[in-house]
């Protein structure tokens, strides 16, 4: 039985993906990075009860730190195990792999069981001021939240790593000195 967070996540994935109904119909997948950006927005707006932490992520523009929710990732895996979403691995032109997700046929059936309240909070989360749906895309090393209807664009806060005060003292571990060459 999926939790509230999992239901909301499933509904959010269903808004951006579509399985094929016929053989010649194309499947619409949502990329992991875009989903992570929306998940982050959902955490900040208290739609999801997860938390997040900075993690080094490989993007088209190289590595960078992003706020990723491990609990959210865990819920994605739970939805996969329940057969409600499918995951697709694909390689990129930079020879790293990305994952994309799509709601499964079982997932579409499950959507009917999700309460109107849960759907409403997600609709509110992904809705732009103009009424269109917000999309997340990675461009020039930035994750942008965009709207096709009003062409609005704003960077996602998922790339802003938060700071914590701390005090440390230098620590140099014991390292035995090993001669440079065998004959040395």
């Amino acid at each position: 039985m999926p939790t509230t967070d999992q239901n909301r996540l499933l509904y959010m994935i269903s808004l951006y993906s579509r399985p094929s109904e016929k053989d010649d119909e194309k499947v619409v997948w949502v990329r992991e990075m875009a989903l992570r950006a929306l998940m982050y927005e959902g955490i900040v707006k208290k739609v999801f009860s997860w938390d997040y932490a900075p993690a080094s992520v490989l993007t088209a523009e190289g590595r960078c730190f992003m706020n990723i929710s491990q609990e959210g990732e865990d819920d994605i895996n739970d939805l996969r195990e329940l057969g409600l979403i499918n995951a697709l691995k694909l390689s990129t032109s930079r020879h790293y792999y990305i994952t994309a997700y799509c709601v499964s046929k079982n997932g579409l059936t499950e959507l009917a069981k999700i309460s109107k309240d849960d759907k409403d909070v997600i609709d509110e989360l992904v809705k732009c001021k103009c009424g269109g749906n917000v999309k997340a895309e990675e461009k020039d090393g930035q994750v942008l939240l965009t709207c096709d209807s009003c062409k609005a664009k704003q960077p996602s806060g998922m790339m802003e790593v938060e700071d914590v005060s701390y005090v440390s003292k230098a620590y140099i571990p014991y390292l035995p000195v090993v001669p440079r060459r065998e004959d040395a």
């Binding site: 700071d163 914590v164 005060s165 005090v167 230098a170 620590y171 140099i172 390292l175 035995p176 440079r180």
Partner: protein, 603 residues
Amino acid sequence: MPDAKDAKGKELVAQQASNIKDELNEVIVLKDVRLLIGEYIPFGVNHIVAFNTKLGSFMRVKSALLTQVVDDDPGGMQFEIPAVLTEVLIKKFDKNDFVDFEATIHYPEPPGIVQEEHFGVHVDYTGKILYGLDLIEIAGRGKDHVSLDHLSRVLADIIQDSSQMMGTLLTDYQRKLLDLTYFGKSENRDKYTFVLAQGAVPLVPAKEYLDGEDRENELRQILETFQDVFDLADGSKLLVGTHGTILVSKDPTKYEYIATEYSFLMSMDIFIQNFFSRLFMMNDCVKDIRTLIDKSEEDPNAVDKAQSELSQTTGDAILLKELLEYLRESTIALGREWEICEKGMSDPSVKDAALKLGIKTRIKAARDQVLDMEHVIDGLLRSLEGLSAMNETINQHQMRHFQETLEENARSMENVAKAGERTSAGVEIMEIILSGTLALDLVALFTGGLQFPNLGLEGGLDALAWALISVGFWVIGSVLLFLAMKWLGDRAEPALVVRLKLNRKYNPKNLKAFMEKREITTQDLDLYSTLARKKVMWKYNDSLFWEELPGWGKRKVIINLAYDENTKFLLNALVEVQFPGEMKISEVREAFMAELKDEKVFG
């Protein structure tokens, strides 16, 4: 302190001394945390010598301040730079082998955030870089309460700050190698973290951390994907992940050496993964170049593009080959190092941990990976050589074709020139005849006609003499008009043409202001690849009445200036001045350069 033993009884902890927007659920808390962060940077003995020199290891006072500012006027007396943000203190060093130093970083932080960042750094000739920190206080709490949520943010900060600090110490060559491997984003490069803690709450059998829920999720913030978890004989817990490892032990010091070796080994693994991706990306470049060469007959830009990509890719492949050599030497040195240290290892728990981490196997695997990549690079270089030969053949073919076209054009031009010469001779004859006719018409105008009696001169000239005078007028008129036309023609032709090669950076704002003050008559823009070459022309004294101009005098001057809008370089100028002999080439150059300098066009 919240009771974190009960995973179900999660307590939301009020945020202290942080700018975290979210409410954190603390499930696992560590005590007395030491951090070891490892990374691989290509180093050799010469780099260590340079590194020691830059740090000032050989000086009497073994501390120094570091800055990223490059002195572009080393001969000057004073300079001003922003406040220095990094301070180092050398602890131990060997000129050729290694250096251990303490670094204190004061990078600006957001308001309300206080970070006293002191870390130890070990750098050696194998490329082993280790940053060590002992956490004293975190988010307003003591060292007996280190939340993993806070720790993940501290790690992100240290990983970024340490890259920035090392950036000031590395040579350009090393920075180039790192940029090549990390796709130009070496400042965001990844590192491997080894967390040594004296305790954890809750302290449960290692397998219980893999609950698939809260504990596992929280640990993944540090470790990323779990690889394995182990309980060691002395009760220590070893939690191993793809980007970090946590060791919880009552005596973490005895595990220090394997922690350093493992974090370095894993950071080398991260480096090799990036290197491998870069290699495959270059294989794609080779495919692109081949496609461009195949298209050389259809696409007029294909050969130039292929040439440019070929030289870039070949340069990168050579650098990768050099980098691989550093990696190979590092893996050999690491293997030797491990063999020596394994012999001195007596504690069974430490031996067990080394075995479980598979350090020996991993060193061998790294060596095999490097060997495998050597084959890939050799293949890549051979492909590039083949492409270079193909491109050369196409170039020669195009050159032959070009030469044939040129010869054909020369023949056509010769025919046109001959026809032009014939026409020109005819026109000149016609000009003389017409000039004479004009002279006769003028005579007729003043005398009332060319007939002798019309003059009405008493005892005047006879008809023959009058005819001769008329012909004389005809000849004089022709010569005068011919000379007048020649004078006008000479005046229209530029007399002194000076070509100046500039190749200097310009200030776009000042150049724009300079252009606005001149009446630009023509403008051309050539856009090609990354270049945007613009040619502009302006004239001085382009009217009937010439005025005295500073530097140029009372002359007509035509200036053509070429510059690149993308690279912001002034390329060359062509200056044409009237009246040969009145102005020297050096004077023309001086007058033109003075104009540019006066208006601060040079950047």
